[in-house]
Every structure is written in C-alpha cells, then in structure tokens.
Amino acid sequence: MSSSVAPADLPVENGEGELELAAREAGTKTHRVKKRLTSRGATVAALVIAVLWTIPTFGIFISSFRPAELILSTGWWTIFQNPGFTLDNYRDVLLSPSQSSPQLGAYFVNSLFIAIPSTIFPLAIASLAAYAFAWMRFRFVNALFIFVFALQIVPLQMALVPLLQIFSQWLKPGQQWLHSVVDIIPVQNYLPIWIAHTIFALPLAIFLLHNFISEIPNDVIEAARVDGATHGQIFFRIVLPLAVPAIASVAIFQFLWVWNDLLVALIFSGGTQDAAPLTQRLAEMVGSRGQEWQRLTAGAFVSLLVPLIVFFSLQRYFVRGLLAGSTKG
C-alpha cells in the first residue's frame, strides 16, 4: 500500500468488467488464427514462467502436510516415492498448548484483530478527507491535497523512532490505566499498532478515494445542495454509497498490507502473544528454529491462508485497486 505512489483515477464503471471481457472474447476470435502460427514459442515460455513461479509455494504447501522425519530427510518432490500425510504439523503450530510449540493460534487472532480496525479506521478518516478535498471549494484545499499526496515521500523508517517516543509518552499511561480498570486487557494492547497503521495508510487512501469521489457528477451533488442537504447528509446519503466499489478495493489492499506487515508490528506491537501478529511470530521462528521445517512450512501456510482466500475470492477488486493505483501515469 505504502509503496504505490502513482497518480491515478479509480475506474468508475460498475459493470464488473463485463465489457472488457466481451471485448477480449471478440479479440480472441479475430486473432486466434494468426496467433496460433506465431506464438508456439511464447506459449512455452509463458508455461515455463508460470511453473517456475508456482513451484516454491507448491513445495511448501506439500511439505506442510508431510511428517517431520520425511520433510527433513527427503525432498518434497519425492512425495510419491516417500508417501506420508499428516495434519500433526498444523495441530502442533496452531493448537498445542506446550511451551515449546509456536502457539500460532493466539497470533492468528492478533493478526485478524489488528487488520480489521486498521482497515476500517483509515478508510473512514480518508473518505471524510477525500470528500472535503473533492467537493469543498477553498483556495488552499488544492495545495493541501498535493501536500498530503507528497507525504508518501516520507518513508516509514523516518516516522518510527519519534512515533514510538510519542506513544510511550502519551499512549502508555492510557494503556496502563485501561489495564488497571479492565485487567483482562493487557497493558500491551492493540492501540498503538492500530493508530500507526491508520496514520501510515492515510496519504494513499485519501488520494485514491479522492480521485474516485471527485468523479461523481457535479449535478448530483448540486441537486442535493439545492434541496438543502448539509455536507454531512451529502457525504452519508450520496457520496458514500456511490463510492462503495472504490472503498472496497482500497480496503482489500489495506487489509492485505496490514496482514502482511512486519516492520510496523516489530516496532509497535510489543512482540508478545498479547498483541504481536503472525508475521512477527514467524520471523522469530525462522531466526530461532530455522531447521524445524515441519513447523515453518505449516506456520507459513497458516499465515498465507487469509491472503490467499482474499486474493482468490476478491481478485477482480484487487486487480482493479492495483490498476487504480498505478496506471494512467
């Protein structure tokens, strides 16, 4: 999310890409004959690349279901010569209460509970700001908007040390107080990491949502204004419903970005089961148990599960968000 800096507009069409599909279909027919003659080499090359790209993930997937002794003594590609299938690896990393096991269950919950608010918060704040930038006319708004976009110039690394200092000075007392009132909530809770993710998401989210919201026809907004609607009403009744596709694609990106993040987690989560996400636990396991491949493969696949589900079920919105963030340069 933070890496995408290109100016762009979100696509406005609501037809879920049916048109593109039809166009591609027609293209296929006209070109099939010519293509077949010239593209045999290209097809082979594409096939080779596709296989090369998939094999590493496939290997870890197969291995995660193999018994430990087999993983450590034979290559996963010999699965037919050395058959063996087990769910023990998953049972061990997720559910085992033993101190020596990675206990990923708790971290999985953390990842989920970090990612959900860290997606909702910045999107809500960004849509408010995006509305103001798009539909409230003031001279300095334009300059301010470009300034916010330009904030992507600041790498996360520049923000970490001072933000951590601010948090330990201003947020820590509040966290401590909360823990003393409701002692079931640990001192090291999700609050700092939610706030950090929210801040870091804002520049790009504001930018992308603004591009979409400013494409809403002027007549619609004007008509509402003539009817006496306030800015609050226009925002809630007109702009938000129309912006749902854009918000959805930005939300998918933000969710995946937070789920996959390691840096922000390392600095702001405290690193314990109380609040640290899966990625942090896995990185730690690689460092301390780099040879326990039965655990690493299963653990890695647990962490891949959510992104892969999001990816395969929402691919269309994912791609749309990506194109919004990068084309039309």
Binding site: T43, I60, F138, I153, I185, Y190, I206, L256, L262, T297
Partner: protein, 322 residues
Amino acid sequence: MTTADLIGKILQLVMGLAVFAALVGLLIFLIDRAPKKGRDYWQLFLFLAPAIFLLAIGLIYPAFRTTALAFLDKGGNFSWDNFVWMFTQPAALRTLLNTIIWVLLVPTLSTALGLAYAVFIDRSRGERVYKALVFMPMAISFVGAGIIWKFVYEYKSAGREQIGLLNALAVAFGGDPVQWLQTDPINTVLLIIVMIWIQTGFAMVVLSAAIKGIPTEQIEAAQLDGTNAWQRFRNVTVPGIRGSLVVVLTTISIATLKVFDIVRTMTAGNFNTSVIANEMYTQAFRASEVGRGSALAVILFLLVLPIVIYNVNVLRKQREIR
C-alpha cells in the same frame, strides 16, 4: 492462549470499534450543527481535522524529528558522526552498495519479466489462470515469501539427501551442495530473486492492462506493413505503454528501496546481505544507535525523494488540465 486472553482481545476489538464509531458520530454531529457564521470553514475543518491531525503527529513531526536526530551524537550535541560512520565503515558502505544493487536489479528485471509474460499470454487461452499464478505472490507476505524461498535454498551437508530444491538441482548436475544464504555475494542475488518473484506479478498485471489499451488498428496496420512480431513489439507495443512502464518502474523502485522483511526473515542482514531499511531497524531498535538509524532513514528519504517529486509533478499537471 487461554479463554481469558481471547475474551480480552475480543473486548479490545469491540471497544476499539465502538469508540471509533462514537468519535466519527460526534464529528458528523458537529459538522451538521456547525455555527451559521463561518459555517463553510468550520465544516471543512471538521472533515479534514482527523486526517490532518494524525498525519501531523505521525508523519510530519516525525520526519523533522528524525532529521534532527540524524545530526545528534549520543550526548545530544550536533555532529556529523552518523553520516561519517555511514560513508566510512566497510559494513555500512556494504549496506549502501547492496541497496544500490537491489534497486538496479529488481525494478528492471521484474518489469522486463512481467512485460514478457504479459505479451506471451496476451489473448491466449487460459489467460486468467496464467495471470493468477504469477500474480499470486503479490498477496503473500514478505515473511511468507522469505520462508518459501528459504526452503528452496535449504542446505544439507554433502552426501545427505538435499531437501532444498536448488541444492538438489546442484547435486543432480554433479555439483556440491552450497550454503547459499551464507555465501557472499551470491546470497544478495538470491534475496533479490525473492523480491523479483513478488513484484513481477504487479508489473505483469499493470502492463497487461496497458497492452489491452493499445488500439487494435495500430497493431493491424503494422501487420499489414509486413512487420514481424518483434518489430511490432518494439515499435507499437512499447511506445503504447510507455506511461505504464514508467509507473511500474518507479513503484517497484520505491518498494525495493524500503525492502526490509525479506532480508530480516532470510538472513537478518548477516553475511553481507544488509540493506538500508534493514540496517535502520538494526541500528535504531536493536543496537540503540538512534542517531545512526535516523541517518539511514534520512538517506532513504533522499533516495525516494526524486521519484516522488516526479510523481507529484505528473499529478499537478493532471489537476491543471481538469
């Protein structure tokens, strides 16, 4: 994890969402009840206030603070020591050199591969499946990718059966197994491959969309002129997607400059593989050398600067046209 822990976490989630909803509700209430006098300014302020406030404390102030920290020694006095360290110590210099190698190789190779792949699969049967396979790594975390590739590079001493694919191939072709990730300088290249593996899908999807945006007439006209596939690619396709190519290159360059997770997961920066972003974390948060960490962050900022300025200029031009 005990049940009490889980309840505590659920409570946090529910409370967090509830407090946030209450704050947004309050904001909307204030927006609608804005005083008549100066109403427009008041409303504008309220719409923008949360975002501006958060950006101010989370990005703008820290950027200045980090810059200041970079010029302070441990006693809090002004000094150039942190930058002197960066440009004189062999280990720090190696970090800078590695970052340059990363930023030269990753954007060019992943863009080239992504473009080739996009052209190869264009209008082919099963294009969507082809795309999904190469695009999938984009959804995987860098940590997950690190583990996936660490497994590919896994080493077992000679004579034992190799469980890492790369060493299995090396042995199958009559070589000796290599401790890939500990062998300088090939280890840096092997880490770079992981980043290319991730970013190629991004380049491919964006460029594929751009290729589909080229008018068919142009390609057909070129065909009528009797050009071959390579000439059409060079003279029609590439010029037609120039804008997208630039965007892909700049986006991947910025992502590469900030790469941290891959190096952290796979080697933790050991064996001469460190890059600026990883070294920044090591110095500031592991070695308590906040000044050095800040200096590295400033360098990162300076490297990203020209790329973002370019994008801001494009944006300003676009808005002037509007």
